[in-house]
């Protein structure tokens, strides 16, 4: 079955540490890839997206992600986190093989940044 997997459910780190969140998908075909962030009590916001072109995508708030087609991965990175990055992060995929361009989410990773 087609799925999106996020490796870590919870991540705890200190300010200024580097962050990398893993995301793998099992879809074939052309994919559009997204990372969304959900701050406590707030709605989902788009961090970055990949449709085509340069596989290294830069998003808002210093985040970037790299699409590695051979590994079916789209990992999110930030070189130096801040306390305000405490949130839940969701990877999501649209596959050309999914009917109606359905957006499927991973289970999310909760990130806690200690001040």
């Amino acid at each position: 079955a087609q799925s999106v997997s996020q490796h870590n459910h919870h991540v705890i780190l200190s300010e200024a540490a580097s962050l990398e969140l893993g995301c793998n998908y099992s879809y074939g075909g052309t994919v559009n890839l997204f990372w969304y962030v959900q701050y406590p009590g707030q709605h989902l916001q788009l961090l970055l997206k990949y449709f085509s072109g340069d596989p290294l995508v830069k998003g808002i708030k210093g985040f970037e992600a790299e699409f590695i087609k051979s590994k079916f991965s789209f990992n999110l990175r930030k070189p130096s986190v801040q306390w305000s990055d405490t949130a839940e992060y969701f990877c999501a995929v649209i596959s050309s093989r999914a009917a109606g361009n359905k957006l499927t989410f991973g289970g999310g990773t909760r990130v806690l940044v200690k001040p």
């Binding site: 709605h43 989902l44 649209i94 009917a99 109606g100 359905k102 499927t104 989410f105 991973g106």
Partner: protein, 116 residues
């Protein structure tokens, strides 16, 4: 531009009662989605509309959930009767569907449902 509007933001009901959530997508967006996000999980697609037609409702519990988008603009999601396990955030989202950014999906703030 105005975002995806949802109401009510919060609702507490007793089990077996009914509830309805409303969504007004971004103007001109043909595709509208309803997602269910249970605490600690990723959003799960309940139903997807293209204009006023249903594209995918395979994960909608049709014995208790219903949704409509009669004029192809705003939409209503209803739960009747509610169960405890329906406690979740119900997210509405919309997508332009055209152009290079046609697949970017925009989310509303969600309707938080607690069933007691």
């Amino acid at each position: 531009e105005a975002g995806v509007a949802q109401s009510p933001r919060y609702k507490i009901i007793e089990k077996r009662q009914s509830v309805a959530f409303w969504c007004n997508p971004i103007s001109g967006h043909a595709t509208l989605y309803w997602y269910q996000q249970i605490l600690g999980q990723g959003p799960k697609l309940l139903i997807q509309f293209q204009n006023n037609g249903v594209v995918d409702d395979s994960q909608l519990p049709k014995d208790r959930f219903s949704a409509e988008r009669l004029k192809g603009v705003d939409s209503t999601l209803k739960i009747q009767p509610a169960k405890l396990e329906d406690s979740a955030v119900y997210l509405c989202a919309s997508r332009p569907g055209t152009g290079s950014s046609g697949n970017t999906i925009y989310f509303g703030e969600g309707s938080w449902l607690t069933v007691v």
